[in-house]
C-alpha cells in the first residue's frame, strides 16, 4: 500500500483521489456553513504541512508559526480593509477601524496595500524574507533544539503583543469586517465556495511541493542535518542554509494559509497568532505524524474538526480532551496516526535507534 504511493503512478493516484474528495465530494455533501469551516481547516492543514517539513524532517520545533500565519493574514487583511475603504469613501480613505481609533490620516505603510499585486507579492515575500533573516541569525549561530523551540515561542508571544499595541493595525481587536475579496463580494455564497476551492487547491500544491522536497536529495540532507548537524558541516555543507530553506518554506506555507484564512473566516486578531494558537498548530502535526507527509494534514483536519464538534457538545470538556490528546498521542504514539497505519500494515523489523532530535 504505502509502497504503491511511493511510486510515480501511486503519487498521481493519491493526488487524483484527494482532488476528487476536495473538489467533488465535499462541495456536494456539505452545507455552505460546513464548507466554510472546512476551508478554515484546510488553512490549518497548509500550516501543518510546513511544520511537518521543518519539525518532522528538519528537527526544528517551530513553536512560532503563528508569526508567519499572522503576517500572511494581516497583509491580506490590510488589502481587504483598503479595498473596503476605497469602495465606501473613495481612494486613499481611512479604513473604518482607524476612524474609531482616532486615526484620521492613512499611515504611509498602508497605502501600497491598495494594490492587489503588491499585496500578493508582500504575502509571498515578507514572511519568507523574515524567516530567512531570522533563520540565518539563529541557525548560523547554531541555536537549536530546545533553545530554538523556546525562542520561536517567545517570538510568537512578542509578535502578538506588538500587534496589540498597534492601533493602526487594529490592536487587540485585530482586523475584521471585510466585504470584498479582490473585487468579489464576500457574502455571496458562490464566492465563499470559490474561497474553499482556492484553499483546497493551495493545499494540494503545497503538499506536492513538500513531497518533492522530501524525495529530493535535499530531503535526505535535511534529515542528516537533523540527526548530526555538526557532521554535515565537515562534509562541506553549510548546515544553516539547509535548515533555513525548510524553515522559510514552512513560513511561506503558513503565510499563504494566513492569507486565505482571512477572507474565509472574516477576522484576524492577535488572539489567533500568539503562543497558544501556535502550539495548537503543532498539535495537529503531532497527532497526524510529524515525520510523514500526509500525517500533518490529516492531523490538523482531525484536531480542528474535533475541536468544533466536541466544543459544540461538551464545551468545557474540550479542554480536557485537548490536553489528553496531547498527552496520549505524544507519549504513546510519537509517530502519530501515520505510524499506526504503518505498524498495522505489516510486521517488519523496526530498527530501534535512539531518536536524535525528533
Amino acid at each position: 500500500m504505502s509502497k504503491f504511493f511511493a511510486t510515480r503512478a501511486g503519487t498521481w493516484t493519491g493526488f487524483a483521489a484527494a482532488a476528487l474528495v476536495l473538489f467533488g465530494a465535499a462541495p456536494l455533501l456539505l452545507s455552505g456553513f460546513r464548507l466554510g469551516l472546512l476551508a478554515q481547516f484546510l488553512c490549518y492543514a497548509i500550516v501543518a504541512v510546513g511544520i511537518g517539513l521543518a519539525w518532522g524532517r528538519g528537527g526544528m520545533l517551530t513553536l512560532g508559526q503563528g508569526v508567519f500565519f499572522g503576517m500572511g493574514a494581516y497583509l491580506m487583511a490590510m488589502h481587504m480593509k483598503m479595498a473596503d475603504a476605497e469602495f465606501r469613501n473613495g481612494a486613499g480613505s481611512v479604513p473604518d477601524f482607524m476612524e474609531l481609533a482616532g486615526i484620521r490620516e492613512l499611515p504611509a505603510y498602508w497605502a501600497p496595500f491598495a494594490s492587489p499585486v503588491f499585496t500578493i507579492a508582500a504575502i509571498l515575500i515578507v514572511p519568507t524574507a523574515f524567516a530567512v533573516l531570522l533563520g540565518f541569525a539563529v541557525f548560523k549561530r547554531r541555536v537549536k533544539g530546545a533553545y530554538f523551540a523556546i525562542l520561536s515561542q517567545a517570538l510568537a508571544g512578542a509578535f502578538a503583543i506588538l500587534l496589540i499595541g498597534q492601533q493602526s493595525m487594529g490592536g487587540f481587536n485585530g482586523l475584521s469586517r471585510f466585504r470584498y475579496f479582490f473585487g468579489y463580494n464576500l457574502d455571496d455564497p458562490i464566492n465563499q465556495q470559490m474561497l474553499y476551492f482556492i484553499a483546497a487547491g493551495v493545499l494540494l500544491v503545497v503538499v506536492a511541493v513538500a513531497l518533492q522536497l522530501r524525495r529530493s536529495r535535499y530531503g535526505e540532507l535535511l534529515v542528516a542535518v537533523r540527526d548530526a548537524e555538526e557532521r554535515v558541516r565537515f562534509l562541506g555543507y553549510d548546515a544553516a542554509n539547509i535548515k533555513v530553506v525548510a524553515y522559510a518554506a514552512a513560513a511561506l506555507f503558513a503565510a499563504i494559509a494566513g492569507a486565505i484564512f482571512v477572507p474565509v473566516v472574516g477576522i484576524i486578531s492577535p488572539a489567533s497568532i500568539g503562543i497558544v494558537p501556535s502550539i495548537m498548530f503543532i498539535l495537529g502535526v503531532a497527532i497526524g505524524g510529524r515525520a510523514s507527509l500526509i500525517g500533518p494534514v490529516v492531523g490538523a483536519l482531525a484536531v480542528a474538526w474535533a475541536q468544533t464538534a466536541l466544543s459544540e457538545q461538551f464545551p468545557s470538556a474540550w479542554t480536557y480532551a485537548q490536553g489528553l490528546l496531547f498527552i496520549v498521542v505524544i507519549a504513546l504514539l510519537p509517530g502519530g496516526i501515520a505510524s499506526v497505519a504503518a505498524a498495522t500494515k505489516r510486521f517488519r523489523k523496526e530498527p530501534v535507534i535512539a531518536e536524535a532530535a525528533a
Binding site: G32, I164, G171, R179, I190, F197, V205, S269, P315
Partner: protein
C-alpha cells in the same frame, strides 16, 4: 484547481453588485423558539462570561415559566466562544445558519463583538450584547444593553471633577476599550482643565505593576482612572496598597471591577476605592430584590450579581418584549418595533432607543465596602439617553466618527 477557480469566479457577484442575503431559516411553526447563548465557557474570559450565561438562563427560565414569548417556550442553544474572536465568529455563524436561532445573546470583549458584527450583518440576524463598551458603534443587527461611554465614563469623570480632582493618571489594559476610554478622558480633561499626568497600558493578564505604580506614585496625581481588566487588577491594587497609596490620598476610579472581581483582589487592598457602573447588587429597588433573590435561589447564596449580568438578564426580557410588540420573530419586524420598548429592570427602567439600538441607563458611582459589595455614593438623575457617538458633547468633536 485553476479551472475550478475560473469556473466559480465567473458567477460570483462583484463589488457593488447586490447580493442575495442568505434567507433566514428561523422556524416559528412549533411551540418553541430557539435562541443562542454564546459565551466563553473556556479560556481566560470564562471567568466573567459564565456569570453572564447564568443570567441569560435565569431570564429565559422566568419568561418560560410565565408563558414564554408569543406563547412559545424559549429554547437555548448554547455555544462556547472559547475566549477567541475567531471562535465567536464561527459559532455565531453556526447558530444562525445551522441552528436557525431567532437571536443570539452573549459576547463580552469588544474584540468578540467586532468579530461577530459582520456575521450578524451578512446573515441579517440579531445579537444582544450585554457589556459596557467603548461606544462609537451602532449596528442595525446588534442591541447594546450595557453602557456606552456617556452612561459610564463621562458620569465617572463628572463625579471626579465635582469632588475636586484636578489631575489624573490613566492606567489601562492594552486593548480597544481602555484606549478609547482614555481618548475620551483626554478630550474631556482638555476641556475641563484637568491635567493628565500619565497614561500607561499593560498587556491583558499582566501581573507586573511595579513600574506603573511607581510612576503613578511619583506623579502625585489627585486620582487614578483605571480601565484594567481581569487578573491585572489584583496585581495592580496589591502593589498600590503595598507602596502605601490609599483611597483617601489618591482614589482609584475603576470601570471594569464589579462584585465578582472584588473577592480575588482582596477587600483589604481595595476598600474605599470607587467604581462606575449602572448596577450594583446593593441597588435598592423591588425589581432588584426579586432579581437577586431569584439568582441566589437558582445558583447559590454565595453568588453575587453584577452589572454585565444584569444587562444580560435585561437583554432577554427586552428581546421578548420587542417580539411581543412586533408579534413576530422576524429580524426586520424586531428592528422596526424596538424603539421605545422598555423593561422595569433591576437598575431601573431601561428603554430601547430605536435609532442606535442602545438603551437608556442610570449611571452610578459605587464605593467598595468591607463586605466586598459596592454601594452607590452617587447616581444620575434618572436614566441617561445613550449617545454612542458622543454627539451631544462639543469637546468630543474630534473623536466622532461617521458610521
Amino acid at each position: 484547481a485553476v479551472t475550478a477557480l475560473a469556473l466559480t469566479a465567473g458567477c460570483g457577484s462583484r463589488a457593488g453588485e447586490e447580493t442575495e442575503a442568505a434567507k433566514s431559516c428561523v422556524d416559528t411553526s412549533g411551540d418553541t423558539i430557539k435562541v443562542g447563548a454564546l459565551n466563553s465557557l473556556s479560556g481566560t474570559m470564562s471567568i466573567s462570561e459564565t456569570t453572564v450565561r447564568d443570567a441569560i438562563y435565569l431570564a429565559v427560565e422566568e419568561i418560560n415559566a410565565a408563558g414564554g414569548v408569543q406563547g412559545k417556550q424559549i429554547e437555548i442553544v448554547a455555544e462556547d466562544g472559547a475566549s477567541e474572536p475567531t471562535v465567536f465568529a464561527e459559532k455565531a455563524e453556526k447558530l444562525i445558519r445551522e441552528d436557525c436561532v431567532a437571536a443570539v445573546f452573549g459576547g463580552w470583549t469588544s474584540a468578540s463583538r467586532k468579530a461577530m458584527l459582520p456575521v450578524f450583518e451578512d446573515n441579517d440576524s440579531l445579537l444582544y450584547y450585554p457589556v459596557q463598551y467603548e461606544g462609537l458603534e451602532a449596528s442595525e443587527n446588534i442591541f447594546y444593553t450595557g453602557a456606552t461611554t456617556n452612561q459610564q465614563i463621562i458620569p465617572a469623570l463628572d463625579y471626579l471633577a465635582e469632588t475636586g480632582v484636578k489631575s489624573l493618571y490613566l492606567v489601562g489594559s492594552d486593548y480597544v476599550f481602555p484606549r478609547t476610554a482614555n481618548a475620551i478622558i483626554n478630550a474631556y480633561a482638555a476641556d475641563k482643565g484637568i491635567e493628565i499626568l500619565g497614561e500607561d497600558y499593560a498587556q491583558l493578564g499582566s501581573v507586573e505593576f511595579s513600574t506603573i505604580v511607581n510612576q503613578v506614585s511619583a506623579s502625585g496625581a489627585d486620582a487614578v482612572f483605571n480601565t484594567l481588566n481581569g487578573d491585572s487588577n489584583v496585581a495592580f491594587f496589591r502593589e498600590y496598597a503595598n507602596v502605601g497609596l490609599t483611597a483617601e490620598e489618591m482614589p482609584v476610579m475603576s470601570v471594569s471591577i464589579a462584585e465578582e472581581e472584588v473577592g480575588g483582589i482582596g477587600v483589604e487592598n481595595i476598600e474605599g476605592q470607587l467604581a462606575a457602573w449602572n448596577y450594583y447588587q446593593t441597588v435598592e429597588s423591588p425589581e432588584n430584590t426579586t432579581f437577586v433573590e431569584a439568582f441566589k435561589a437558582e445558583y447559590g447564596a454565595e453568588r453575587v450579581t453584577s452589572d454585565p449580568m444584569e444587562a444580560a438578564y435585561n437583554s432577554v426580557y427586552l428581546w421578548a418584549a420587542t417580539a411581543e410588540k412586533a408579534a413576530s420573530f422576524a429580524v426586520e419586524d424586531i428592528q422596526a418595533s424596538a424603539d421605545g420598548v422598555s423593561f422595569a429592570s433591576p437598575e431601573g427602567t431601561v428603554v430601547i432607543d430605536g435609532d442606535n439600538h442602545h438603551v437608556t441607563k442610570t449611571a452610578r458611582i459605587g464605593e467598595i465596602s468591607a463586605d466586598g459589595l459596592l454601594y452607590t455614593v452617587w447616581e444620575s438623575e434618572g436614566a441617561i439617553e445613550p449617545d454612542p457617538f458622543l454627539e451631544g458633547y462639543d469637546w468630543a468633536a474630534d473623536l466622532q466618527v461617521t458610521e
